[in-house]
């Protein structure tokens, strides 16, 4: 379980938020909302450890994530604004290399299954630069299926997705929560996933 104690974020001269407290336990998800520039992405980057908090602590199962290091990162899946997909590589290669970067080998079969689930059948071997923005996003989201992570931190996961993909992703997050997973995501839309709480920045 992830718990936040008195978290503050300062960017340059501006204090984005201060004294933030919340906890996300198994099967729960948190919807981070706020205006553009309210600090949603900064909050997520703090949570995953890409930025150091100005004040406060982030704890995973009661221990500070700074001291846990890789033991925390192993349970974590962060999908940010950027695609993190290589345009020159095919969808399959991207997915497999991303898994290897996490230290797991991904068999062809499970990688293909993940891509098919996201409607990329027949496009697995195509360099990603020939895919549309939404399809690139789907390649990235296929990581949700292939990486066994307890905590999903997703920044605007619904950007560029069509209606069908939005439903699919919502269902996927629902399954993840039912399995005892946790999710924190930012989105401007209302989310059709039950059991969530809202955090207004």
């Amino acid at each position: 379980m992830l718990s936040i104690h008195g978290l503050s974020c300062v960017r340059g001269e501006r204090r984005l938020f201060a004294g933030l407290d919340f906890a996300v336990g198994p099967g729960e998800w948190l919807h981070v909302r706020g205006e553009n520039g309210a600090g949603k992405t900064s909050l997520l980057r703090l949570l995953v450890g890409l930025m150091a908090p100005a004040e406060g602590e982030i704890r995973w199962n009661g221990e500070n994530v700074r001291t846990l290091g890789e033991d925390y990162r192993r349970h974590l899946l962060f999908l940010g604004h950027h695609g993190a997909v290589k345009e020159e590589l095919s969808a399959l290669e991207n997915l497999q290399l991303a898994s290897q970067l996490d230290g797991d080998a991904l068999a062809d079969r499970s990688a293909l299954a993940a891509l098919h689930r996201f409607g990329l059948k027949g496009r697995e071997e195509l360099p990603v630069r020939f895919l549309s923005a939404g399809q690139k996003r789907r390649v990235l989201l296929a990581r949700l299926v292939t990486k066994q992570a307890k905590l999903w931190i997703l920044d605007e996961p619904f950007t560029a997705l069509d209606v069908k993909a939005v439903d699919m992703l919502s269902a996927l997050i629902g399954e993840h929560l039912a399995d005892g997973g946790m999710a924190i995501l930012t989105s401007h839309q209302a989310m059709p996933i039950p059991g969530g709480r809202e955090l207004q920045l």
């Binding site: 020159e88 991303a98 290897q100 230290g103 360099p127």
Partner: protein, 221 residues
């Protein structure tokens, strides 16, 4: 360890898909070193004297060419963030990227150098020393260059700053690398220079990934 190999494999695969970047640096090396004998004319004694310096300076500049792109693409498309968040320590992954950079920009120079050295009338022994010096020296260039590339990541006009930052640090490699070949030609033996080059390489292999990692973390904040 798998993750490090994956980084190396990915960078090599990417280089295969966009060959021009690697080939540009190689052509630069070949052309610059071939222009000198043409410009100076057939004077074997003079050519032999300037050969180590010319080959080393050309190798230095050829490695500089691709340096700025070392982390730029990964930074732009978010791969760098994923590398930071990987359970494998970032220092190891950065080591993998440096190794891949050397395989693409250093190793080809080592293999080409004896052929180009022939134009300068170097004998077999001197060519062997040249190769050995480049084999020890080019990884050093990649290691030092990685620190500069990480420090200038995301800066506008970072290319000029990168050269200003990195070239002075390349001077020891240049002195001992070219010195090894000169010493061999003068009959003094290249052992001392090569040992110093190896010592510098060991030092850089230990510190450079660590310094690069620190610089990358700052760039991502």
């Amino acid at each position: 360890m798998n993750a490090v190999l994956a980084v190396i494999r990915r960078d090599l695969l990417l280089a295969m898909r966009r060959k021009s970047e690697v080939l540009t640096a190689l052509f630069f090396f070949v052309i610059v070193t071939s222009l000198f004998p043409l410009g100076i004319g057939p004077e074997p004694a003079l050519l032999k004297k300037i050969a180590p310096g010319v080959l080393w300076v050309a190798a230095l500049l050829a490695t500089m060419l691709g340096l700025q792109r070392m982390f730029a693409a990964d930074h732009a498309d978010g791969t760098l963030e994923q590398m930071v968040l990987s359970p494998t320590p970032l220092g190891l992954l950065v080591g993998g990227k440096i190794a891949a950079h050397w395989m693409l920009s250093g190793l080809p120079l080592v293999l080409l150098a004896p052929v180009l050295g022939l134009q300068f009338d170097l004998d077999v022994g001197a060519l062997g020393v040249l190769m050995l010096a480049l084999l020890l020296g080019t990884p050093l260039l990649s290691l030092i260059g990685a620190i500069g590339a990480a420090l200038t990541l995301g800066l506008r006009g970072g290319g000029v700053l990168l050269s200003l930052l990195v070239l002075p640090l390349y001077v020891p490699a240049l002195i001992f690398g070219a010195g090894a070949v000169e010493a061999h030609i003068a009959g003094l033996g290249a052992g001392g220079h090569l040992s110093l080059l190896a010592a510098l390489l060991a030092l850089a292999a230990f510190f450079a990934p660590w310094a690069t990692t620190a610089a990358l973390r700052i760039a991502l904040e």
